[in-house]
Amino acid sequence: MSDRVVPRVAVLWCPHWSVVVAGAAPNEPVMVLHANRVVAHSIAAGADGVAVGQRRREAQARCPLVRIVQHDAASDARAFEAVVQAVAAIVPRVEVTEPGTLTFLARGPSRYFGGDAAMAATVTRIANEAAGLEAAGGSFGLGIADGRFAAGVAARRSARMSEPVVIAAGHKAVADFLAPLPVRLLTVVAGVPAEFVQLLGRLGVHHLGSLAALPELDVAARFGPLGTFAYRIASGGDDRLPGTHDPPVGLAVQRIFEQPVHHSDVLVFVARQLAQELVDQLAADGRVCTRLLVAAETEHGEKSERAWYRSNGLSAAAMVERVRWQLEAWAQHETLTAGVTLLRLDPVEVRSDDGVQLGLWGGRTQADDWAVRAVARMVAIVGEQQVLVPAVQGGRHPREAFTWVSAVTTDLLEPDERLAPKSAPWPGRLPSPSPAIVHASPQAITVTDAAGCAVRVTGRGFVSAPPAALGLAMHSEAVQAWAGPWPVEERWWDITRSRRMARFQVLTHSGRLLLLVVERGQWWLTAEYA
């Protein structure tokens, strides 16, 4: 496998593309959040200590004036289409890895423009113009090297230095370039799981060079396919995962519409079916698509064709998402004159599926992603104080066992912290079952005995007479059964916050079971077992 020719690849990469889309002025601190974590930030925010992966509160603490933008992958993709089109005009076979990153084979364009350096300068200039980046004081990075990983690393360095980075051809040059760099880049650029990289660090392998210096067979024996992959890219070898190959022809799925389609929701719906069909077909052979060509054509022959790449493989949902990005960008950047008649999904690169996909058991699932996105949208609509998630608090009263906290203050996908059971026991807590309705603000009620006098509870916990009727806001109900009082004395050591009260369960004749609290002679309806 390792003697396979490593293609010469150019990677065009924009740091913090989401911030560019958000339209940050130079020196304006801006950060983009997804699931309450920073995914991108402007240079000014970075200078104040904001970093990718931080929680919102932490980032705000470091940079209080920061403007917050919610992450929107679709608008990122739409905005990126301008860059893709500008580059695709001078370079063939452009692949979009994700909004902000594109990849293309460098050999042909370099020969046309007269060398890697000249080509790199031209492409960078065109991309910067298309994105309007110069005005914002940023720049695309462009890296050219043998292999996608080395080119990606070079592009990151290029973005920092504001000039293209070209690594000489040949295995040795790439290996020398990568050797002194930290293994962390495996995660950042190639998407290797962070746990694996941490493990390497604990084993004393801190640089890509030290990983490449290990015997390949030992790495394979210890870490399996993932280790082989990491070893291969660290040593400047082919970055396509083992088992990657061009698929047999005839795998492409397409739909021809007799009636031209004028609405993208119909196309997305069809794309969903096609994607599922394709993924099922590939999964039956134990394979997964890593590069997908999406093509659409209108009745008048207008075409949109894009290649999408994802090293971990594209799931059906990921395919649909890319089709949607492409269609939206197409409709925005070109004036279409007719309905769409053809939609085709063509897997141009597949590899054997080794299971690096969304978690089936535990981990993060598609449903989680959708929910997180929906929460972000709801927060945008109604404000962060109105969208709540549960957190464990602890207490004797049903209202105190759990509390609601704002969804934006916690990480939705890591609930362990807010839901960890508090170890403190709460003696005097009512046994389960708990009431299904707990009033946020208790309602005042009256409780009377058979003679119509108010029922009192003495300081020693004696009830003056059995309760016989409850007076709720508008009507009264007869008591069928009751139990209590269960006295509670909380914070007796604190004069201002101490409370003495007694709780009762009361079953009315209409079958309602209520939880009452009496405090300083006043009865409250606090919860209902509905």
């Binding site: 609405h263 004159t337 449903a367 929910a371 929906a374 109604v382 104080q385 389960s432 139990a483």
Partner: protein, 234 residues
């Protein structure tokens, strides 16, 4: 031109996201299986929970999907008891609630919020707060839920969201509470299911809740199964 306009417009309205609803059902807790037509909740359906135990019933119905990995959103029920929800089996890590400010939401805000919920969540619990949603808006939201495969569970009768299925607790009795002594430890509830796809009303008896707060059938299902001899006898 027409395409361009409509594509962009749809993209802006956010109509384009969705889920591949391959499995058109959501699993429920075993206690509800005998009651439901396919022993599961049909995705895209609207389920009404009524009667004295409506809240527990709605939480119990949401618990099955929640345990299977679905996210549950609650709207218009600010007083829902979290401890009870957890005891009934709802997973708190996948529970989100939207509360109204004191001024309340208007119809347009409700429409936006509920549309976002439908897009991201599998089960929606809608309480009395959503009664203010207009019938037309509700109809659009239900259509969206059908396309997206979300189940809407209403707590109490909700005229806006007309239910495909209607659960009603017709009889309920709490056990354990005496005259000044004891504590309510469980409730025997007779649940009736009616609805469009249910030709004649179905009934079941549940502990709603049991002593530890969960849901269980009063008779274990195994009793109704016939006994088969495994080896020759006599």
């Amino acid at each position: 031109m027409v395409v361009a306009a409509s594509l962009v417009e749809l993209a802006e309205r956010g109509v384009l996201s969705g889920v591949v609803a391959r499995e058109r059902t959501l699993s429920v807790l075993p206690a509800f299986e005998s009651l439901l037509p396919n022993a599961a909740l049909q995705r895209g359906s609207v389920v009404a929970c009524e009667g004295s135990a409506a809240s527990s019933l709605a939480l119990g119905l949401a618990a099955g999907p929640s345990q299977a990995g679905a996210w549950v959103a609650v709207a218009g029920v600010p007083d829902i008891g979290l401890a009870a929800a957890v005891e009934l089996g709802v997973v708190p890590a996948r529970l989100v609630m939207v509360t109204e400010p004191t001024a309340g939401f208007n119809d347009a805000t409700w429409a936006d919020v509920l549309a976002a919920m439908i897009d991201g969540f599998d089960v929606l619990l809608l309480g009395p707060g959503t009664l203010r949603v207009r019938t037309n808006t509700a109809r659009r939201l239900v259509a969206r839920a059908q396309a997206r495969g979300a189940v809407i569970v209403t707590v109490g009768a909700n005229a806006s969201f007309a239910g495909d299925l209607r659960f009603e607790v017709t009889q309920a009795s709490w056990q354990g509470l005496g005259d000044g002594h004891g504590v309510a430890h469980d409730r025997r509830a007779r649940v009736q299911l009616t609805g469009r796809r249910v030709p004649r009303p179905r009934h079941t008896e549940l502990w709603l809740p049991t002593t530890n707060g969960a849901v269980a059938a009063t008779q274990p299902a195994a009793e109704s199964a016939s006994v088969v001899a495994l080896c020759p006898t006599g």
